[in-house]
Subunit: 229 residues, 2 copies
DNA sequence: GCGGTACTGTCAGTTTTTGTCAGTAGTGTT
DNA sequence: AACACTACTGACAAAAACTGACAGTACCGC
């Protein structure tokens, strides 16, 4: 039995036990040493499985490693497909690919009849006049927002003045023809908006900013007089 | 990337192609030699996946393989949220609501940590200059497309001439500032496009049109010289 | 401290995996 | 029939990984 096969079997085993299963027992069932078992657990965790081991009890696989069956109405599927197509057409290539992958995963857990209606959906997103040229930076920006990391940018403002700033990015707004990054600007000590097509250069810093993203968003909304979406 | 990881990726790839995918292409995507690819296929088959390879065409994974896909990645969730927000902001109220409901359902199956990242997502869709005014008809149009039903419309063409037509609606295109319905026009006996803001009145007929939606779409694509999306 | 369980680091021997290359089976062509 | 072509398989050596043994660490309750 190859290792890859055994890892699947281990997942299966973990799912089939309702209560924590002790390591030595799992190892024995799989016919491997305890040492190898520990390594297998580590492999699975590294691949995204949240397996918890409680000393004295055993191991449990917390739900959320694999996608369970999902049920949607036809209209909800239409909405998901149309939305994903928009993302696939109008955003950076990484996000675009993720949109497609998400649909593939959803499709795989739908009952056959709904899967068909997902595949055959005929709501399309038309091409836009202003194609998205900016690319490489986008994934970094999203990454920084997610991880609440500071970024340093070279920015060309609307008066064609270039400046270098460190900002705390917390939101990205997708408009018809441009994208705007919202962040707290360390230079100006206030919230600022940056058109992504005017960001000349960008570097994600190691450091996280000292506030929570959600909180920055709320303050920004208050400052801008926007009610929550 | 470990072999077990790669095997999962191969399954995902196979699921993502609607049509048979040639072996050399899959091998290249995975970054492995063709020989190794054949071995991977053999492994999966041996583990219970029903993968069929047709010489000259490629490989297909028949649905029903017991292994569900992996949980969404953070980026996939970002894509789904952003897409749904776009739908929620830019389409008719029924579809908009469905987009939100779909997200709720997805949220329900996420592990706590991912659910959090879904809730806290800060990619937003900005408001558009030309708000969507048309409303009630939209759900009917989508309904007619889904059910492959004929519709009768009062249409005001670009020369401001009003006409009454019965059409076979098969697709809806969402452009930045307008939506276009594509259908076969019984009156003109050809494919026609209708701007939804110029449809004065609409009635969904009982009768289904005598062709399959998918087939109409393919013919229309051929007629318009558009390759498949 | 002490004894116990759960787990990790290291390492050498072993196994698996991999790409290359040669070869086969099946198909369609001339 | 000979031929070209594609899809696939067998063999093999080099490279990569996996494995179990064993020693060692971390943490617990007492």
């Amino acid at each position: 039995m190859s290792r890859s096969e055994r890892l699947l079997k281990l997942i299966h085993l973990l799912r089939s036990y309702r209560y924590p299963a002790p390591g030595y027992q799992l190892a024995e069932t799989l016919g491997i040493s305890l040492r190898t078992f520990y390594r297998d657990i580590a492999s699975l965790q590294q691949q995204g499985a949240s397996i918890e081991g409680e000393p004295g009890l055993g191991y449990v696989l917390k739900p959320g490693f694999m996608l369970p069956p999902l049920m949607f109405t036809e209209e909800e599927l239409e909405a998901l497909v149309l939305g994903s197509r928009w993302v696939a057409n109008r955003t950076d290539s990484e996000l675009s690919e993720s949109a497609i992958n998400a649909l593939v995963k959803i499709s795989a857990v739908l009952p056959a009849e709904l899967r068909n209606s997902l595949d055959e959906n005929t709501l399309f997103v038309g091409p836009t006049k202003q194609p998205v040229t900016e690319s490489a930076e986008f994934a970094s920006i999203r990454q920084a927002i997610r991880a609440e990391q500071k970024i340093t940018i070279h920015y060309l403002d609307l008066k064609e003045q270039e400046s270098i700033r460190t900002i705390w990015p917390f939101a990205l707004g997708y408009f018809d023809n441009l994208r705007v990054l919202a962040g707290w600007c360390e230079l100006r000590q206030s919230f600022r908006h940056f058109r992504t097509d005017r960001i000349l250069q960008l570097e994600v810093c190691e450091a996280c900013y000292p506030r929570r993203r959600r909180q920055l968003l709320n303050e920004w909304r208050k400052a801008e007089g926007i009610s929550s979406q």
